[in-house]
């Protein structure tokens, strides 16, 4: 169907900025109008890129979780004394991500499910903190994943960023 969603969003922004906002004198109403414009900018970016971002994010999380799972399983086998962290628990947590069927849910739900597994892994690592040098190495791997996630999301949400630093009028 035409116009495309992107073109319709541009149309809304045009009306807002060139027809409505110049006639609004109330400061609060202008503030709300500006927020609407920023949300529309965000929506346009999200419509264009969110699908790709989610797919890339899912693949990245699955790769990192698989790597952690492999390492946890190997560490569990090496630990004959039973003094190390319960690596098999970590391997089990990570396994939950692998067994979830891709495509079973919507893309957002699938991504949130995987992020939920990452959060569970992070909490496990916090509980095991200090018990083994491998914990810190794994945390570093997860935090580097988190940085990539933030970098992926940033272009979509950047129009909404709000500086708290003072600016001259």
């Amino acid at each position: 169907m035409r116009p495309s969603p992107e073109e319709l969003l541009d149309s809304l922004r045009l009306s807002l900025n060139e027809t409505l906002l110049p006639k609004v004198e109330d400061r609060w109403a202008r503030y709300v109008g500006t927020a609407m414009d920023l949300v529309l900018q965000h929506l346009k970016l999200r419509l264009a890129h969110e699908g790709d971002v989610l797919a890339e994010d899912d693949a990245d999380m699955l790769a990192v979780l698989a790597s952690l799972g492999t390492r946890a399983a190997a560490l569990a086998e090496q630990d004959t004394a039973g003094t190390a962290p319960r690596w098999e628990e970590l391997a089990g947590l990570v396994g939950a991500a692998r067994t979830a069927e891709a495509g079973e849910h919507g893309a957002t739900a699938r991504n949130e499910e995987l992020r939920g597994v990452v959060v569970a892994v992070m909490r496990w690592l916090d509980e095991a903190d200090g018990a083994d040098p491998a914990v810190e190495e794994m945390r570093d791997e997860v935090y580097r994943l988190v940085r990539r996630q933030v970098d992926r999301t940033r272009p979509l949400v950047e129009p909404l960023f709000m500086s708290f630093r003072p600016v001259a009028s």
């Binding site: 965000h42 959060v119 935090y143 988190v146 940085r147 940033r154 003072p166 600016v167 009028s169």
Partner: protein, 340 residues
């Protein structure tokens, strides 16, 4: 919240006038101005100017009303606590707007609870302050702000009664951990989508909590340009006390720098003025810690707004912008500050 359930936004000039006529014991009273503040989003702030007579004597007054948004407060701190902070500070050397009264009766102006304080003449505008020809005044204000901060941090908070309703840290670690627990609880109560980056910030803050603090102080909680009133080159009132608590004074420096107070005066000069005014010794390491803390705190106060979007309704676009713009920005910044 559905549109049908949403309470009428705003304040009604007629009801406010009738209420103030009674409350100020006036014989006649007219609301000459009723204006909503643009800026601070934690609650609604309304400026009300009145003129009237008592007997044959004319008077004018300028008051500030603070009321939660119809959907509730953005910060996880109730309005009465905020009022109590102002009331406790009113008689002290920390300059704040005079707290007048707190009301719980919705029939009075159609909104409740709310509280009223006397408006302090002056400006909070960053725009005016950062006008190109105002550099010297900015420097003097920056110095005075540092001195005011020293007064906050050396206040005898027990004598002021703040310990009666604020959590008192018993160990140095509690200065951060009590507040962190409070904000983390507010974040989790909103049942946000899983956010590994937020977990990373919480985790780092718990694993790196400062174990020494020079003194437990009143912490203003939200220090920055826009959150104080200035007149000429003097800081005449400190505002935005909703996140005040007892804790590490370095948190306020982290807040001040996070919000760019060093655009007023270079940080070293601000620190020097602060210590000269009797403020506790500056500790850059703890300031760095609390810089990350502030990122997490903003995530916790703003991100839960998004939980109110769903099948039951939506909120105003300003809240969509606030609920996404502030947290995602802070997640990015905080993660960078912890080395990722």
């Amino acid at each position: 919240m559905s549109a049908a359930d949403r309470k009428a936004a705003g304040l009604d000039r007629g009801r406010v006038g009738a209420y103030l006529k009674e409350r100020l014991a006036a014989d006649t009273l007219e609301v000459t101005q009723l204006r909503r503040n643009v800026g601070g989003m934690s609650r609604e702030t309304w400026f009300v100017e009145v003129s009237g007579t008592r007997g044959a004597t004319p008077f004018t007054d300028a008051l500030t009303f603070r009321v939660d948004h119809p959907e509730g407060s953005v910060v996880p701190v109730d309005l009465e606590r905020e009022y109590r902070v102002f009331a406790a500070l009113t008689p002290t050397e920390v300059p704040v707007a005079e707290a007048l009264w707190y009301e719980t009766d919705e029939s009075l102006i159609g909104r409740a609870p709310f509280y009223v304080r006397r408006t302090v003449p002056g400006s909070a505008s960053a725009g005016k302050l950062f006008a190109p020809d105002n550099a010297e005044a900015r420097r003097r204000i920056g110095r005075h702000l540092a001195e005011r901060l020293a007064a906050v941090h050396t206040l005898d908070w027990r004598a002021a009664g703040l310990g009666e309703f604020m959590a008192v840290p018993e160990r140095p670690e509690d200065c951060a951990l009590l507040e962190l627990a409070h904000y983390e609880q507010a974040y989790r109560a909103a049942e946000p989508e899983p956010m590994p980056v937020v977990e990373a910030l919480f985790s780092w803050l718990k694993r790196n909590v400062p174990t020494e603090v020079e003194r437990v102080s009143l912490v203003w909680g939200d220090v920055g340009v826009g959150n104080f009133i200035y007149r000429g080159d003097r800081v005449v009132a400190l505002t935005d006390w909703e996140q005040a608590h007892l804790g590490d004074p370095m948190k306020d420096w982290a807040s001040a720098l996070w919000r760019g107070a060093d655009a007023l005066l270079p940080r070293e000069e601000m620190f020097e003025a602060y210590e000269k005014a009797g403020g506790p010794r500056i500790d850059e390491e703890r300031i760095h810690y609390y810089s990350v803390f502030i990122d997490a705190e903003y995530v916790c106060t703003s991100f839960p707004l998004l939980s109110e979007f769903g099948p039951q309704g939506v909120r105003d676009a300003t809240f969509a912008r606030l609920g996404m713009g502030v947290p995602y920005m802070c997640m990015d910044h905080g993660l960078g500050a912890i080395g990722y």
